[in-house]
Amino acid sequence: MSNHAATLVAHKHPGDVEGVKIGMWLFLFTEMLLFGGLFIAYAVYRSIYSEAFHTAAANLDVTLGAVNTIFLLTSSLTVVLGIVALQKGKQKFAVLMIWLTVLFALGFMVNKYFEWSVKIHHGIYPGSPELLASHDKGEIVFYNLYYTMTGLHGLHVIIGLVVFFVVLYFIKRRPVVTEEMPFDILKHVRGGTRLAVLSEKGDELGTVAELDDKVELVDIRLTYEPVIEKMDPRNIIKLENAGLYWHLVDVIWIFLFPLFYLIS
């Protein structure tokens, strides 16, 4: 008979953190080249229609653009603060930060909505008869680029919003986790033994099995609900990758803002 007390630590393995991040960066590269191509198109047309770009840009609202820049910069801040909070185990603060991020992103889209509505109301949109009749070729190119690039960017903001809701779901849920593990402590135990589940304080929660000499191998399957403080570490990586995406959306806007709003 032995009094061997073995502690089974069932931890969720964070997995290949580096690999997950490399994967995310590779995806971001495709995004950078997607927008990069558009920026090159912008540069080429701007070198051709330099004067028209200046005239057309005067119709854009610098204040709205600047406010949106601040919105996105602040939302980028709240994401990183959320990551730090999650690393510290401060889950509630992390969730609050993600909600703030979502709020700023929505604010950005609301501004964008008003901005576009006013322009469309004035007949400035791709293919508008008014635009084609009254503006010169360079200005039409400017507005087409404006709608394509800020539109594609806005689409990315919406996708980012969805991604943050998915991350929120993973952080807030308390999943029932099932894990299987081979338990080879028996190798060290001679004679009859008893397998029991103990609480953290050492109270016996229940006896799993009485084992005798004939037992050679025990497989244990644990089903448990993680407490919130010991949440799945993979959630941090999910939030980090969502953050990487969001920061790239921010960086793209950092270039869009001066190139479209500040050239009049």
Binding site: P14, V17, E18, W25, L33, L77, E240, H247
Partner: protein, 93 residues
């Protein structure tokens, strides 16, 4: 995440954010001075600097492994080549 353990501070990021907001104001201010073509150059320079702040701090590139840093550097070189090829070709058509 473990490699970032030494970085568990909120304040650092708030400073970076402050710098980004100030630089945004500077960009708007300079654009109001009507420097002409130089203004675009300055605006792009500030935008590039702002982006590098976001990449280094917010995207944690500062603390990433050499592999990821080199990957990102390679992408920038590739993009620079795209720009270079475009502008050695387009103005001469």
């Amino acid at each position: 995440m473990h490699e970032n353990d030494h970085e568990l501070k909120y304040s650092t990021y708030i400073y970076v954010w402050l710098a980004l907001v100030v630089l945004t104001w500077v960009t708007v201010f300079i654009a109001g001075l009507h420097f002409g073509n130089a203004a675009v150059f300055v605006a792009l320079l500030i935008a590039a600097f702002k982006s590098s702040l976001v990449f280094a701090w917010f995207m944690h590139l500062k603390n990433e492994s050499g592999t990821i840093k080199w990957m990102v550097a390679t992408l920038f070189v590739v993009f620079a080549i795209f720009i270079g090829i475009t502008f050695t070709d387009y103005p001469f058509r």
